[in-house]
């Protein structure tokens, strides 16, 4: 059975090879001949067919028949495409029919170019690019245009003023393309007392935040699409929590619940992965990971960078728990600027 398959496979392969060679008019002997060509700058020899003009008429009636068949097939496939378009809008069949129409047309054109039209070789001399005299005369003509001017320096200086002034004037309106950088980039909707809600607008309670899982929160009644809006919320066991000195857990992380901006400080992707394996030997501690470039942050230590390209920690949002409802509230603004860094970025204190 295997042998039969192998024989079949080889048979098909041989046939394909022969068909390709025939179609492309490659003669295996010629291919070998090709290798004999000595490299380098040979001398012209007018008797050698490699070096002179020649023209051959193929007069290949078999090829002409095949060409006609290919052209008709191309037209028929194209008609199939039109019919499919009209009656059955199936993407695969549309692509297949149009693709085959084009493929037949392409095969026909290449066949015509290789086996039906006159085959020619042309030896041509290259144009000389350097025109010494014309170059010199042009230079003189250009220089002659400035003859008889006495205050050359003054005029050059004045022209420079025009150039700089006009150039500036034409460029300045481009500044309208963007607003001034300043408060806009720093502004986030978070402030003390703002409730944390989920993507559907429902408040998130402290009890919803469980270890080994993370939640995405948004400011209530604010645009969730702003970079400053989304936060990731995780619960860290209090004994493992080591926030920077001036961030007491009571004011920043009640019950060990911490919140950080969900936008990576490296290039602005979402911190969409929470690496928290359920078995010991793999990764030593939980980490927030950005899937774009693998910046990895330690949620227990103020989201300090522990791996990857980010240059600074994720900004932390201080949290509080509403004593009545148990819902999460912001206890202030972020500890630093949200998102990728720029010249005036507020790096936060971590």
């Amino acid at each position: 059975m295997n042998q039969l398959l192998a024989a079949l496979f080889w048979g098909v392969l041989q046939r394909l090879r022969r068909a390709t060679l025939w179609l492309l008019r490659i003669d295996p002997d010629e291919l070998r001949e090709d290798l004999r060509e000595a490299p380098g700058d040979g001398l012209a020899d007018q008797t050698d067919p490699q070096m002179r003009n020649w023209r051959r008429l193929p007069s290949d009636q078999e090829a002409e028949l095949v060409l006609a068949a290919l052209l008709v097939a191309a037209g028929l496939f194209a008609v199939v495409f039109i019919l499919l378009y009209a009656f059955d809008d199936n993407n695969q069949l549309l692509g297949l029919s149009l693709g085959l129409a084009l493929a037949c047309a392409a095969a026909g054109l290449i066949l015509a170019g290789k086996r039906i039209t006159p085959q020619e070789q042309l030896v041509e001399e290259r144009p000389e690019l350097v025109h010494e005299r014309d170059a010199r005369e042009s230079e003189e003509l250009l220089r002659a245009g400035g003859e008889g001017i006495s205050r050359r320096k003054l005029i050059t200086g004045a022209a420079a003023v025009t150039g700089l002034g006009l150039g500036g004037a034409l460029l300045v309106p481009l500044a309208s393309a963007g607003p001034n950088v300043g408060e806009t980039i720093e502004h986030t909707p978070w402030h003390r007392g703002r409730r944390v809600v989920d993507v559907n607008g429902n408040p998130i309670r402290a009890a919803d935040v469980v270890e080994k899982s993370f939640l995405t929160g948004f400011p209530q009644d604010a645009d969730p699409h702003l970079l400053g809006s989304p936060i990731v919320i995780v619960r860290v066991p209090l004994e493992q929590l080591h926030l920077p000195e001036h961030r007491p857990a009571a004011e920043w992380a009640p019950e060990g619940i911490v919140a950080y901006s969900k936008i990576c400080t490296h290039a602005g992707c979402a911190i969409a992965l929470y690496r928290n394996p359920l078995f010991a030997p793999h990764e030593p501690r939980p980490a927030l990971v950005c899937p774009c470039h693998y910046s990895t942050f330690d949620p227990a230590r103020g989201a300090a960078v522990i791996f990857g390209p980010a240059g600074r920690a994720l900004p932390q949002l201080p949290l509080a728990i509403d004593p009545v409802t148990g819902q999460l509230l912001a206890n202030g603004g972020f500890s630093g600027s949200v998102g990728p860094a720029w010249f005036d970025v507020n790096r936060g204190s971590a």
């Binding site: 290798l35 700058d41 040979g42 993407n91 020619e120 992965l273 390209p309 990728p340």
Partner: protein, 476 residues
Amino acid sequence: MIGWLIRWTDERLGSSPLLKKSLRYVFPDHWSFLLGEIALYSFIVLVVTGTYLALFFNPSSAESVYHGPYPLLQGVPVSAAFQSTMNISFQVPAGLLIRQTHHWAALLFVAAIVGHLMRIFFTGAFRKPRDLNYFIGLTLLTLAILEGFMGYSLPGDLLSGMGLAIAYGVTLSIPILGASLAFLLWGGEFPGSSTFEPRLFFLHVFVLPAVIATLIGLHLAIIMRQKHSQFGGRGHRERNVIGTPLWPAYALRATGLMVAVAAVLVLLGGLIQINPIWQYGPYEPWLGTNGAQPDWYLGWLIGALRLMPGFDIHFLNHTWVPNPFWGGVLFPGVVFTTLYAWPWAERKIAGDRRRHDLLDRPRDKPWRTALGAAFFSWVFIIFVAGAADRILVSVGFGYEGQVWFFRLAAFVVPFIVFLLTRRVCEELQVTETHPLRSFAGSAVRRSEAGGFEEIMPIEPGDEHWSGARSDQAVSD
């Protein structure tokens, strides 16, 4: 009819001499000369399919709720751009075919340019007088990458949004001016600026295609003026060019190649799914997925952003160099500066100011070939690092180990490639074999005593050559 048309134009434009010259324009035969043609034909497919798509696309980030035939996104808030791309894919007859063909064509366009660039580099076709055209070609490559990036950023799906977020972060990272520049380009913050989507669309469908088309025209006009370069061989000299004239054989073959490129792209567009935005969903700043990959020609930038260790340069209360600058600006800057500077550098080092119309075989310039291979392998390693997430998702190698591996490989691999390539070049020079298709070896005779003796080493051009095949024994 033809005669009438020629005379009609000639009487008005005096065009006959140019026409006659063009019909006799000589194309030397070598497969590697077709890479640039493939890029050109991909561009034509891009313009045709892109024009069609623009009839249906709505470049607006205004939010609306999706209602359409795709069930899984029913009722999800999406942008108008996303909505119209969904309509093109599910409701416009043949819309998906054209959209996927457009995307495949973009991938092939950049791939063919990169292949063409390597051909030019390794055969020394960038030397005078072709250095000028080499610079235009490099500019076309940068524009093609930018144009492709803008194109796949348009639909407003999760993948395009993540790409734009990174581009915004990289722009912010430009020292001192980054934030102003980003605000200028985006018309405000990303996301949030409503002017950005129409800007992106206008640049993608008008400004960049116009510049690219103009430069392609210039590129071809310069080739016509200088005539094609050619490989050495019998009769091939610096001062002549030997090959097939444009009319009729070459014109038919070239048109055939164009239609073949279109055929492959349409077949891909019909049969192989690409950029299924309905699976990604609309972009929201708080969403991201592991294993998301951009179009291939951005992989090297992703890789560079990923491999850079995490630090910003900050002092005096300012962040002078934020981290994405290294991988997102400096790295491509170094790569393209090296490529732009290479013809000049080689001229300086070799002290060669002559005009060159004969191409080098890569083996004949072992130093250039080895340096080039090392350079491209360096970029390639960083490109592979851009696929680390696919390796993590599909094979399960942890990303930290991968990043360390690629950081090391980016330094080590180019050296190995350099030494190996130079050795191979020298070997090929000595044996004069074709690296892919010829047999190198010697014919042996078995003596009566049972030993073997070498009759002669076989080289191409030897009269024994055509008879001696690797699968045939030479016997008495």
